[in-house]
Symmetry: C2
Subunit: 492 residues, 2 copies
């Protein structure tokens, strides 16, 4: 199977699409732009959810659930805010199908079952949530309100790609309300940190933390914080955003609270989200020409054990030893699969688990049985070692940590090698076109320059990094003064 995978150097985009299907992560569905997330892909999402949900709760958030549909009138209330995607969305206009009187066995929309007001399938939930918060917030004692929702959302994208951009996707959306501006800003920053920590510690995906330029901001936000990752093909991926919404939604939905001093004040808001897009980022950060490479902390199967045997008797002898190892690994909280299927040869199994990115493979054959050993192979470097059965559990536990670290370091080195400081527009174009990655350049701070650069190079401002140091410089395009470098890149 793996030999049919297109090489990254040949066609990165084709490699990506093929890998997702061959590794059983996801596939396109009968519904335009919507994907089916297969069990192996969904198990990665569940692992992501588990860690993120824990981190949200540790920072004081609770989950809730709001309706899938947003009445059109609520969209109108925030139309100015949400103009980004309020328009390209799925609209429910009717509530009944009926037998088509003209075509036997066919259904049609019942023309009499037209809704008085159209319902929009949520592209994001600010409108419905802020309309609800109006009833929940009266006093400063009701604040802060710290809520998250795990949900599906729909945006009618014309060009879709599995995980990266689909009409329906799964995400979480945090929506918080605060008494003060400072608190809301601190919340938005905190969630950017949570996302960065998750990306780096669990996904082993280094990210740049920064703020979006005005034209790349969420339409209803006063400030959009982002984490930006770099993919193997030199394109950037916006991996998560955290918005400081000011009082925009409070004003649109008239959400006020009585302060300790008895005054009526509009509340301050944030929203923040990450989605199944992260799985696309995970794939394009670590995987290789043999298939998926998964960081151990998110891998659905961390260790696979493959027996190499002739005849049932040998299999039984191997299984007996393997069972002990399986038990010991599981006792350490390591997820392990013993693949004793007799319908596939060891070679085919090796290829399958390479394709699926299982971090560690253990093989046990007749010679191992004699010598009291096993063969341990790591997916990230393909290195193999022979290990005694007594040591294997410790070796594997260490190896999983080592792989997690190695993936991060490897990605970090690649990323750092692909942040290029430039001081002329010729250099800028050269790096964007030939080397790829982030270009660190001075910019005059105007939307016009940003737009022109985008038109000429397809590169956009990914972010103004949080840690950008102040330095005197001139805009790489206009020569006007600038005090900070920003990061440009082509992006997904």
């Amino acid at each position: 199977m793996s030999k049919h995978l297109t090489k990254r150097a040949e066609d990165y985009s084709k490699w990506y699409n093929e890998l997702i299907v061959k590794a059983d992560l996801a596939e396109n569905s009968a519904v335009r732009g919507c994907m089916v997330i297969k069990p192996y892909g969904f198990a990665i999402w569940e692992n992501m959810q588990k860690e993120l949900d824990r981190m949200f709760k540790e920072t004081g958030h609770q989950n809730a659930y709001f309706p899938l549909f947003v009445p059109k009138s609520l969209f109108e209330a925030e139309e100015k805010n949400a103009e980004g995607f309020a328009k390209e969305c799925a609209v429910v206009t009717h509530y009944r199908l009926q037998n088509d009187p003209e075509r036997e066995g066919k259904l049609r929309v019942d023309p009499e079952a037209k809704l008085e007001e159209e319902l929009v399938v949520r592209p994001t939930s600010e409108a419905i949530i802020w309309n609800t918060y109006k009833g929940w917030i009266q006093s400063h004692r009701d604040l802060p309100l710290l809520i998250n929702q795990w949900a599906n959302v729909v945006r009618w994208e014309m060009r879709t790609r599995l995980f990266l951009r689909t009409a329906e996707f799964l995400w979480q959306e945090g929506h918080t309300a605060h008494a003060t501006k400072a608190e809301a800003i601190a919340e938005a920053k905190q969630m950017q940190e949570v996302y960065a920590t998750f990306a780096e510690e669990f996904m082993a995906m280094p990210v740049v933390k920064g703020a979006k330029s005005e034209s790349e901001r969420f339409a209803g936000a006063d400030d959009t914080l982002t984490i930006e990752a770099l993919m193997q093909d030199g394109k950037a991926l916006q991996a998560g955003t955290s918005h400081f919404l000011g009082q925009n939604f409070a004003k649109a939905f008239d959400v006020k609270y009585t302060s300790k001093e008895g005054k009526q004040e509009y509340v301050w808001a944030t929203s923040w989200g990450v989605s199944t897009r992260l799985i696309g980022g995970l794939i394009m950060t670590h995987s290789d020409d043999a298939g998926l490479v998964l960081p151990p902390k998110l891998a659905p199967i961390q260790v696979v054990i493959v027996p190499i045997y002739k005849g049932e008797e040998q299999l039984d002898a191997i299984s007996e030893k393997v069972d002990v190892i399986v038990k010991e690994l599981r006792a350490k909280g390591i997820s392990v699969k013993f693949d004793d299927r007799d319908t596939f040869r060891p070679g085919a199994k090796f290829a399958e688990y390479e394709l699926k990115g299982v971090p560690v493979r253990i093989a046990m054959g007749a010679r191992d049985l004699e010598n009291g050993t096993v063969e341990v192979a790591r997916r990230d470097t393909f290195e193999k070692q022979t290990v005694s059965r007594e040591e294997v559990v410790d070796v594997v536990a260490n190896l999983l940590e080592e792989i997690q670290e190695n993936l991060y370091t490897r990605a970090l080195n690649y990323r750092n090698d692909h942040i290029t400081e430039v001081n002329t527009f010729d250099e800028f174009k050269d790096v964007i076109e030939n080397k790829g990655g982030f270009v660190s350049a001075h910019w005059d701070g105007t939307i016009e320059t940003e737009d022109t650069i985008k038109e000429l190079t397809k590169a956009t401002i990914r972010c103004i990094p949080n840690d950008a140091k102040e330095e005197e410089g001139v805009c790489v395009f206009t020569g006007k003064p600038s005090i900070k470098r920003v990061l440009f890149a082509k992006a997904y």
Copy 2:
């Protein structure tokens, strides 16, 4: 707050609605028939999900995710199967809003953005899933396919009630494919057992396991297994169903596999689901006039600690002792909240946690501080005891188990007292009208009799119990021969 709760004896339905809102479980939304599940209610659902998900995985199932939308043509393929709710559903006809040229600031559906084929928001996912399974199943080696999905679904209900019947609800739907009829039947039975175990062990809600009569079956099923619970007002609640689908969906979507013998065979299927309706069942099984009563195994907060103090100094002294108890309880995996808010008096807090059904309340006041004691109160019986601080953790741990058991026993006794065997139709009507609960009666097995009884009494056949013993009898309505009693009841 709790004093405003309507008494159950006055108006059970009003009590139910008020309780849900006052206990912060859920509320109606701006979207007709759709609810907002508030954090406290959602935390109960999360606890349910966690246990169910574990049980599904322990029985070999994996989660996946399928699209929200079902193209109308796929509905037509299974129209015969899904006629039950294929018709009353939300239909997406357009994919864009635009500024309304005639009304400034308003949006309208873009008439040019009409979909070629309408999309139905899934009322259940058999159609989209079986259309997908066609691509996944070729050989007997691909079977069994054991998949579950956690999702939102929409059915355009005209009369809705929070949790019990809402236009959008959250559920899980298992969809499995098997090589043989026997395997599929065994799977459907297994999942009925899983549901029953969950209901009884976690929800402390006794259920009758049985099969639906033909007219109450899921439209695409050859057999529908059910768990039926009894609410405090004498009405039954269908709490979960598990369907043996025969080869109906395999034939509708042409899903065949090559058997070991090389023959092409249609696969056999099951589907099974439980939903947020379970929360309605939980409420109506245990709660009382003071508010919610939650079984400890599903309670978001198992123990609340309320300090009774005058002045900061006393609060500090109490807090110091409480912190130790909190730590010890948490070390035992018990969820505990220390409510030291100074904006509410102890009495108000007591009422709030009674209303919210927190199983155990600990109070510590000045005298307790002197005596080294606390007051422990249980929510189910309102009993209080004074306990030394050294013993409190063990006492509470035992108490939680006792409450869990007591709730089950209490509900079981009530349920058993409300299964009434009747042998005449006069008795039947009398019990249904005056006593409520399940009526165990002989039935001639015809749809006509079932329909007539329903018309006359509003009672339906809830199930043919799995453990119904064979006995000679005559139908309570027609006098025709019958060999088994079935359970009738009015139902939600």
